[in-house]
């Protein structure tokens, strides 16, 4: 076993653009679930809408900056459309409805009806070129030291991605410290009491859903730009569940929770991956029964088990505060 390369592989993936995108999406989910207590199980739909909003706009001849604006606005609009009818429902009904809406959107996007616009299951490519034209680094050159290196292309996406993480964290921090944020937390703690104080609870929830959705839209755009590709089947419900693991792991309802959660989750995920690949290559008996496909599935089993264990034994996550931990009663 080469522990050094396992660690470096794990770390390199952890600081990569995908982690940044997950962190951004988790920031949005944290606003909805951690602060407003909304059990939104269709979060991945916001990422899909953001990514497709951008890709379709560019595909129809628009510039990328316009596409990004369209993507973010479309994601916020989706929050409005989902929220208006469903936010009056109890948590379990909201969960069922949102996951259903997310699946409906994915099925519509990949259907033959939408093919002229979305290109169906084949997805859209080549919308991110102008983003990479702005890259100040040499795309093919390696940056870093020793074996800890990334290409200039990746470095550019990473730089943008993590900058967005910082900016959006500051934005959410500002929102939460404002009177608006305090009302949001009050709704989570005791909705009836907040109504009794004369607050329009519905409007606050709707705003949280829309802002959180727009942030997830940004995450979807970043992910699509990084992969230079959008396909409907990249937006399965399992992404939403992974984001829940990230938010709960970091600490739902904390400012830094989504970042900590995303980094720790991705580090564990990728290190276990690198560990298994390494074990397959270097330890004979492991390679005999552990196929690469099985290794990927074992990781997902661990995600599921981790989600259960975390929720049972440490629902407040790494940074959370037990008293403030949500989700105690229905």
């Amino acid at each position: 076993m080469d522990w050094g390369s396992v660690l470096i592989d794990g770390l390199l993936s952890t600081i990569g653009p995908i982690t940044a995108a997950y962190a951004i999406s988790a920031i949005g989910l944290n606003l909805q679930f951690g602060y407003a207590g909304l059990l939104n199980f269709g979060h991945v739909a916001f990422m899909l809408v953001g990514a497709y909003g951008t890709a379709i706009t560019v595909n129809l001849g628009g510039p990328l900056w316009l596409g990004i604006i369209v993507g973010i606005l479309a994601a916020a609009l989706l929050g409005l459309l989902i929220g208006l009818p469903t936010l009056r429902l109890r948590a379990d009904y909201l969960a069922i409805t949102t996951i259903a809406v997310a699946e409906v959107i994915r099925l519509l996007v990949r259907s033959s009806w939408a093919q002229p616009l979305t290109n169906g299951v084949f997805g859209i490519q080549g919308f991110a070129d102008s983003f990479f034209d702005l890259n100040p680094f040499a795309p093919a050159e390696l940056y870093g030291f020793g074996t800890f290196v990334v290409t200039g292309r990746k470095l550019w996406v990473m730089l943008v991605g993590w900058t967005l993480v910082v900016l959006l964290t500051l934005l959410v921090r500002r929102l939460i410290k404002s009177p608006w944020g305090r009302v949001l937390k009050a709704i989570r703690e005791d909705e009836d009491a907040t109504i009794a104080l004369g607050k329009n609870v519905f409007a606050y929830k709707l705003q949280a859903l829309m802002i959180g959705g727009a942030i997830a839209g940004i995450a979807g755009i970043l992910l699509a730009v990084e992969q230079r590709n959008v396909t409907p089947d990249a937006y399965l419900p399992k992404i939403t569940f992974i984001l829940y693991v990230i938010v709960i792991l970091g600490g739902a309802g904390t400012i830094l929770g989504p970042i900590v959660g995303a980094v720790v989750f991705q580090f564990l995920f990728f290190t276990i991956d690198a560990l298994m690949v390494n074990a397959q290559a270097n330890i004979g008996w492991v390679g005999d029964f552990l196929t690469p496909a099985a290794a990927g599935q074992i990781k997902l089993v661990l995600v599921g088990v981790g989600m259960m264990v975390l929720m049972i034994f440490r629902p407040q996550g790494i940074l959370g505060n037990k008293e403030e931990a949500l989700i105690d009663e229905r």
Binding site: L39, P85, T86, R88, L89, R90, A91, D92, Y93, A95, I96, T97, I99, A100, V101, E103, V104, L107, L108, R110, S111, S112, W113, K238, F241, Y244, V245, I248, A293, A294, Q297, I298, L300, V301, L302, V303, G304, V305, G306, M307, M308, V309, M311, I312, P315, L326, I327, D328, E329, R330
Partner: protein, 427 residues
């Protein structure tokens, strides 16, 4: 052979091997192959045991049979143009080429070193010239069949919600586990290879056991810890995720079919083509659902179950052992879901994520009928099933699940307590 000649032969052979080895891996082994898959509704079923022949200018070059997973491959001597023919007489009953003219592909070009992939699209053998009446009737029966499967699976979910308040996402895996267990007892080389009608009984027992294990090992301890319902829902998602991927590891990603009843020929009743296994599914489901209804109305446990669902504290104070009733509910739910899963596998395909694909339609049925009511889930199941299948008259086939989910959303907006649910605050 002289020593010199032997020497020459040795070198010639060596050089040939050295030169040919890279070429061999590159050039040798031109072949024609493919995978025979029947598209049945949304599912892809591999078709085994179908003969395919390859000929060139009228001379037969080779023949082969599709093996497990529907895969077939026939070696050809080299690059060139070949004719590939699927012997339609060897297709199982009820399976036919979606385009009957494509029985022989006359111009299959194989290049150097290529394994040429050839596609024979297969479908149900009833596509040719159906009248609107036949099509509507067929879809209605297919809808009743899907409805029966959904209803069987949904009753348990609704009962569990009734007695514990939990929306159990891992219910999907109870469905999959039933189908996979039936496959193990029926068709797995490691299993006893019983006929499917026998194998379904131990499969249901596996489902009952899974319900028991979940309640005793997870949900009862969590209730004792006063874990909140939303937290439990998140736990059930984790459980669903873990079990689903465990099934993937052990069962594999390929869809499979039960060898019994595979490719049944449709029969005609009132001029409408129906596959017998659809009718069996509907009939058995109705009997089982009626049995569940009798159990709930007449038996002590069933009455107690309704009492707990109505008001657990009141039930407890009138001497009902609530924990025992909840345990029975979980076992009942597990058994019903396993039966539903087996029927689902019988009619479509057995696959690791089949339960999760069905889960949202189960949710739709449960919400439509009224969360927590057993009869509502039954009615809801049939309504959702028929709506989903009939929707393909108007919408493309790939959108039929979406239609079911839209129905769910609309019901939540119009009548959130469902058709048979009591009015309560759900906002």
């Amino acid at each position: 052979m002289s020593r010199r000649a032997r020497f020459a032969w040795f070198w010639l052979a060596t050089i040939t091997i050295v030169v040919m080895t890279p070429l061999a891996s590159f050039a040798a082994g031109e072949s024609i192959g493919g995978t025979l898959i029947q598209r049945l509704e949304d599912e892809k079923l591999p078709i085994e045991g179908v003969t395919i022949t390859v000929s060139q200018d009228g001379n037969e070059i080779g023949a082969g049979e599709s093996a497990a997973g529907g895969k077939w491959e026939i070696s050809v001597p080299g690059a060139g143009i070949y004719q590939v023919r699927l012997e339609t007489s060897t297709l199982p009953d009820g399976v036919a080429l979606t385009d009957p003219d494509k029985e022989e592909l006359p111009n299959v070009e194989v290049r150097d070193g290529q394994t040429k992939k050839v596609l024979f699209p297969l479908g149900e053998g009833i596509v040719s010239s159906v009248s609107t009446y036949e099509r509507v009737g067929f879809l209605f029966v297919a809808g009743l069949k899907l409805g029966a499967i959904i209803a069987l699976s949904a009753v348990g979910l609704s009962l569990v919600f009734g007695v514990t308040g939990l929306v159990n996402f891992a219910h999907a895996e109870m469905v999959t586990l039933g189908a996979v267990a039936a496959y193990f007892f029926h068709a797995s080389p490691a299993g006893p290879q019983w006929p499917l009608v026998v194998a379904v009984f131990p499969a249901v027992l596996v489902g009952v056991a899974f319900g028991w294990i979940q309640e005793r090992g997870l949900w009862r301890p969590l209730r004792a810890r006063h874990t909140g319902l939303v937290a439990m829902m998140v736990v059930s998602i984790g459980l669903s995720f873990a079990v689903r991927n465990l099934i993937l590891i052990f069962f594999g990603g390929e869809p499979r079919a039960y060898p019994d009843f595979a490719g049944q020929a449709p029969i005609e009743i009132l001029g409408i083509p129906m596959v017998p296994k659809q009718l069996i599914t509907i009939g058995v489901s109705l009997i089982v659902l009626a049995g569940v209804g009798l159990f709930l109305q007449r038996s002590r446990s069933g009455t107690a179950m309704r009492a707990v669902a109505d008001d657990a504290d009141l039930a407890e104070s009138s001497g009902i052992n609530v924990d025992r009733i909840i345990l029975i509910t979980w076992m009942l739910a597990g058994g019903l879901a396993a039966l539903g899963g087996t029927f689902f596998g019988l009619n479509q395909a057995i696959q690791w994520d089949m339960g999760f694909k069905l889960l949202l339609l189960i949710f739709a049925a449960v919400v439509l009928g009224g969360l927590g009511t057993a009869y509502g889930a039954m009615v809801g199941g049939f309504i959702v099933g028929v709506t989903v299948e009939m929707s393909t008259l108007i919408f493309p086939n790939e959108l039929k699940t979406a239609v079911g989910l839209v129905l769910l959303i609309v019901i939540l907006l119009v009548k959130p307590q469902g058709l048979l649910g009591k009015k309560e605050r759900i906002g």
